[in-house]
């Protein structure tokens, strides 16, 4: 195993984890969005290590670029809303991390307990052009054409739904 890749993995993993923790720890939603950008860019680096070049590019351009800008606009629009310290469920602050820790242990046991041989190593040898835009495009337009069309329909429904939700009603505006 080349040590360069291990160093890159740990840098990317610490960035992704640090960003994720910052998202839930920072009190100002604006900073949470910026922390999520750090998380997404680190995750794109990990995708590159896994030879998913097209997805890494899509992650940076679409997610960290476009979707996060939308979040920033809304965060700036609604302003900084401080969360009250009052807790409706007693002990929620302690129960939630406990449940998340239990979830992590359960997921880890499920993953490591599968005994899949291919998980231990670096993965099988992959053909040239694995994860390139060309390979993904061919798969998307041949084998997964129906899924591709279904996602386009979903996007259309979401766009129309957002317009209906966010549009100002006439009587409200008057």
């Amino acid at each position: 195993m080349r040590p360069v890749e291990e160093v890159a993995f740990f840098v990317g993993a610490s960035g992704a984890l640090g960003g994720a923790v910052a998202v839930i720890a920072l009190r100002n939603p604006f900073y949470s969005v910026l922390a999520l950008v750090v998380h997404l860019v680190s995750l794109a680096g990990l995708f590159l290590l896994l030879h998913a070049e097209f997805l890494a590019a899509a992650q940076v351009v679409v997610y960290a670029g476009a979707v996060m800008v939308l979040y920033l606009f809304v965060a700036a629009y609604v302003g900084n809303t401080e969360e009250p310290l009052w807790e409706p469920i007693a002990g929620q602050r302690f129960l939630a991390p406990l449940l998340a820790g239990a979830l992590f242990i359960e997921l880890s046991v499920a993953i490591l307990g599968t005994g899949l041989k291919s998980l231990g190593g670096d993965g099988t040898t992959i053909p040239a052009g694995f994860g390139s835009p060309e390979a993904i495009g061919v798969l998307l337009l041949e084998r997964f054409l129906i899924a591709f069309e279904a996602t386009s329909l979903l996007l259309l429904i979401a766009a129309v739904g957002a317009m209906v939700l966010a549009a100002k009603k006439r009587e409200e505006a008057a």
């Binding site: 984890l17 880890s108 979903l154």
Partner: protein, 99 residues
């Protein structure tokens, strides 16, 4: 790098996202935590795709990205509508459905 590391990292990121959904009360931050969980799933899909040498997982991850984008659009639309009606942006105070 052994692929188990990627999968354990993905489990860890998913748990962080889940604890965020349970802890935070601002709907905007809850949406961000949902993004965290979806991205953890993406990382696992791509790691499995690498381990099997099969690119189907990449298509799955791409579809998850599209679903996440739709969720963001609808969620942010709801938040803007809530803000406009001067409803409190706190999921604990919005607990009744009205027609």
């Amino acid at each position: 790098m052994s692929l188990e590391w990627y999968l354990v990292l993905s489990a860890l990121l998913f748990s962080v996202g889940a604890s965020g959904v349970l802890l935070r009360r601002n709907p905007l931050v809850i949406l961000l935590c949902l993004e965290l969980m979806l991205n953890a799933g993406n990382l696992a899909l791509i790691a499995f795709s690498r381990s099997l040498g099969n690119q189907d997982g990449h298509i799955f991850a791409l579809v998850v990205m599209v679903v996440a984008a739709c969720e963001v659009v609808i969620g942010l639309g709801l938040i803007v509508a809530m803000f406009r009606r001067r409803l409190p942006l706190n999921v604990d105070e919005i607990r009744s459905l009205q027609g």
